[in-house]
């Protein structure tokens, strides 16, 4: 009953005309971000963040969260129409979505994706609403060792699951932690790696870094490997699924939603892995697995449901613990911090309007997205006719102006450029940026909790393994890091 009361407070915040408008704007921008290959939700949020300065924090966060889950809806369109996912979380959708479009069933694919996304997204928000306060109650009992273990778990998981090479991902994470040490030492105030540059005294600002890595770097990367948009001429009629489509897909939507939420909660896993797992599970439980890859509608419903539920899942550790699990939630955490808010167990008690307002807005946003995406699909498809170069000019303009506007200082433009070049090189040579961003955000928390823990234990590292919570979290992190390598070793030894 208490949750319903709190949710009522949330709806009283989310349903104001201003916040409804921001939720709609977020959903709309998110859909566009999802549609356009080469710009992801992290970039969308980073680019829009400077534009939200001066707005009430809750309105801004409602809009930025809308971009996140809106992008999952939008990513479907390109997956189905041009076999090019707008988002990595929509890659699995291409397997059957594009085949359906070739068979003249693009409308049905987009329709079931929108409806599946709505159902799973809404169920995901219900689960978020129930899980986040419970987890926050537990997190109140956490001390520095548990927070150190949590931050480490996030980094190890993203390194283990995030890319083609765990060594490269770990290196990126260590680089992010190293960058986080720039500026005043959080405990003694002494300067570290500032090279007598005044602007570095408080450390690297997160926004120019995010704008560089996700905005400018994307444009540069596109110069090296251009996005070619060539939509097939597909009929978008029949967006409302037939009864038969619905019967075939309903199980996939529920399973996808469940898988998506659970995987979304895990730090470092996220919507992309959730969508692949959901697709794989669906093929395995299907009575006709041979239809998968040939245009099976449940092959669209499952990954699309999973990636939407995963966004709700990813908000659980962010809101309840203050620990982001992906680059997008890391940028969202950066947004919270810019507004003077600290996600975590105290957010619920200190800013219930923000916490519950955000959750309520996700219910509202999912409804908006359903009505945006079903009738709006043909309109959104027309966005694909826009040359990427025009979009790139927009990204560059907003990136430069956005970086400047943070502190009204050209130094931040230099920082954005430096990270744009770094981000480009990382993409070019296959180094994942997500661990770097996550480490940059988690770095201060990780260092503080490590040093506090060692002070409590008089310098003994045993504190991390003698406390049940931290030991369990570190063990999970190590399994996540070593797991993929161990599985492939076991598989190889079985095959030989």
């Amino acid at each position: 009953m208490e949750i319903l009361g709190q949710l009522g407070l949330g709806f009283s915040v989310a349903l104001t005309p201003q916040n409804l408008a921001f939720a709609f704007a977020g959903a709309l921008v998110g859909t566009m971000v999802g549609i356009l290959p080469g710009i992801g939700p992290a970039a969308g949020i980073a680019l829009l963040l400077p534009v939200t300065f001066g707005l009430p924090p809750v309105s801004s966060l409602i809009m930025l969260a809308g971009i996140y889950y809106g992008a999952m809806y939008g990513g479907t369109l390109t997956s189905v129409l041009i076999n090019t996912p707008g988002e990595s979380a929509s890659v699995a959708t291409t397997f059957d979505g594009y085949q359906m479009a070739l068979q003249g069933r693009a409308g049905a694919a987009l329709g079931i994706a929108a409806i599946g996304s709505f159902i799973a997204g809404t169920l995901g928000v219900v689960a978020l609403m129930l899980a986040a306060p419970t987890l926050a109650d537990v997190a109140v009992l956490f001390g520095p060792p548990e927070y150190f273990a949590l931050a480490t778990l996030g980094l190890l998981t993203i390194a283990g699951l995030g890319g083609s090479s765990a060594t490269k991902a770990l290196l990126a994470a260590v680089a992010g932690l190293a960058l986080a040490t720039i500026g005043a030492d959080p405990m003694t105030g002494s300067k570290r790696f500032t090279f007598n540059i005044l602007e570095l005294s408080d450390g690297l600002e997160f926004l120019p870094v995010a704008v560089g890595l996700f905005g400018i770097a994307e444009v540069f990367a596109n110069l090296a490997t251009p996005v070619r948009l060539a939509p097939i001429r597909a009929s978008l009629s029949g967006l409302v699924p037939t009864w038969q489509d619905w019967i075939v897909s309903r199980g996939a939507i529920l399973r996808g939603g469940l898988i998506g939420f659970v995987i979304g909660v895990l730090p470092g896993a996220g919507a992309t892995i959730a969508s692949f797992v959901a697709y794989g599970v669906e093929r395995r439980v299907s009575k006709h697995p041979e239809r998968f890859g040939q245009g099976a509608i449940e092959g669209v419903a499952a990954p699309e449901s999973a990636n939407n539920a995963a966004t709700a899942g990813a908000m659980v550790p962010l809101l309840a613990l203050g620990i982001p699990g992906s680059s997008t939630t890391a940028v969202l955490l950066g947004a919270f911090v810019l507004y003077g808010l600290r996600p975590g167990p105290l957010l619920l008690t200190e800013h219930p309007d923000v916490f519950w307002g955000l959750i309520a807005s996700m219910y509202v946003g999912n409804v908006m997205l359903l009505f945006l995406n079903l009738p709006g699909a043909p309109l959104f498809a027309s966005v694909l006719r826009l040359p990427y170069s025009v979009i790139a000019a927009g990204i560059l303009g907003i990136s430069i102006a956005g970086a400047y506007s943070l502190q009204n200082n050209l130094f931040d433009v230099w920082v954005a450029l430096a990270f744009g070049v770094l981000g480009y090189l990382m993409k070019r040579f296959d180094y994942p940026a997500a661990p770097l961003v996550l480490a940059l955000v988690l770095g201060p928390l990780l260092e503080m909790s490590l040093r506090q823990s060692l002070t409590i234990s008089h310098g003994s590292l045993a504190i991390f393994v003698t406390r049940t919570g931290s030991a369990a979290l570190l063990a999970v992190g190590l399994i996540a890091l070593a797991g993929p390598a161990l599985f492939s070793l076991i598989r190889r030894s079985r095959n030989t």
């Binding site: 260590v174 680089a175 190293a178 002494s190 490997t225 790139a392 400047y404 260092e447």
Partner: protein
């Protein structure tokens, strides 16, 4: 992995090595309480170790990741353009510098048709001006034209 990882691993190992060396100049801390040099030192050591491991593993690999012809010069020119924007903005004003850069980017780098390039550059510059300077009151550096 490609042969570029050997060079990248080597360079990054040196950077982390320098970081660890710099960290030795900071207070490492007492026996019971780590100081400001504690984290950077260990990060430098771990980073250098990982970078070297990467370089060693990449030995013997060949090739580079595929890219468009003349990709690197185009990226370098685009980045150089932003350098020019940052240097010129205090004199010309940010909006004007940005508009000039976008014209260069769309017409020279991206080779858009003249009308499309000019329209998208001008459109972006006007949008930036209206949103940031007019709506958000961001005090951009102002040039002789008053914006």
């Amino acid at each position: 992995m490609t042969r570029a990882d050997v060079a990248i691993g080597g360079v990054v190992a040196v950077v982390f090595g320098v970081m660890a060396w710099q960290a030795t100049r900071m207070a490492y801390g007492t026996e019971f309480a780590p100081g400001p040099g504690f984290m950077p030192l260990w990060l430098g050591v771990i980073g250098a170790f990982l970078a070297l491991a990467l370089a060693v593993r990449a030995r013997g690999t060949t090739g580079l990741p595929p890219a468009e012809p003349r990709a690197e010069p185009r990226v370098a020119l685009s980045a150089l353009g932003i350098v020019v924007v940052a240097m010129a903005a205090p004199v010309t004003g940010l909006v004007l510098a940005l508009a000039a850069y976008l014209v260069f980017f769309t017409l020279v780098i991206e080779r858009l048709r003249l009308r499309v390039g000019l329209a998208s550059s001008a459109g972006t510059a006007v949008l930036v001006y209206l949103v940031f300077e007019r709506f958000l009151n961001v005090p951009f550096p102002v040039g002789p034209l008053g914006f």
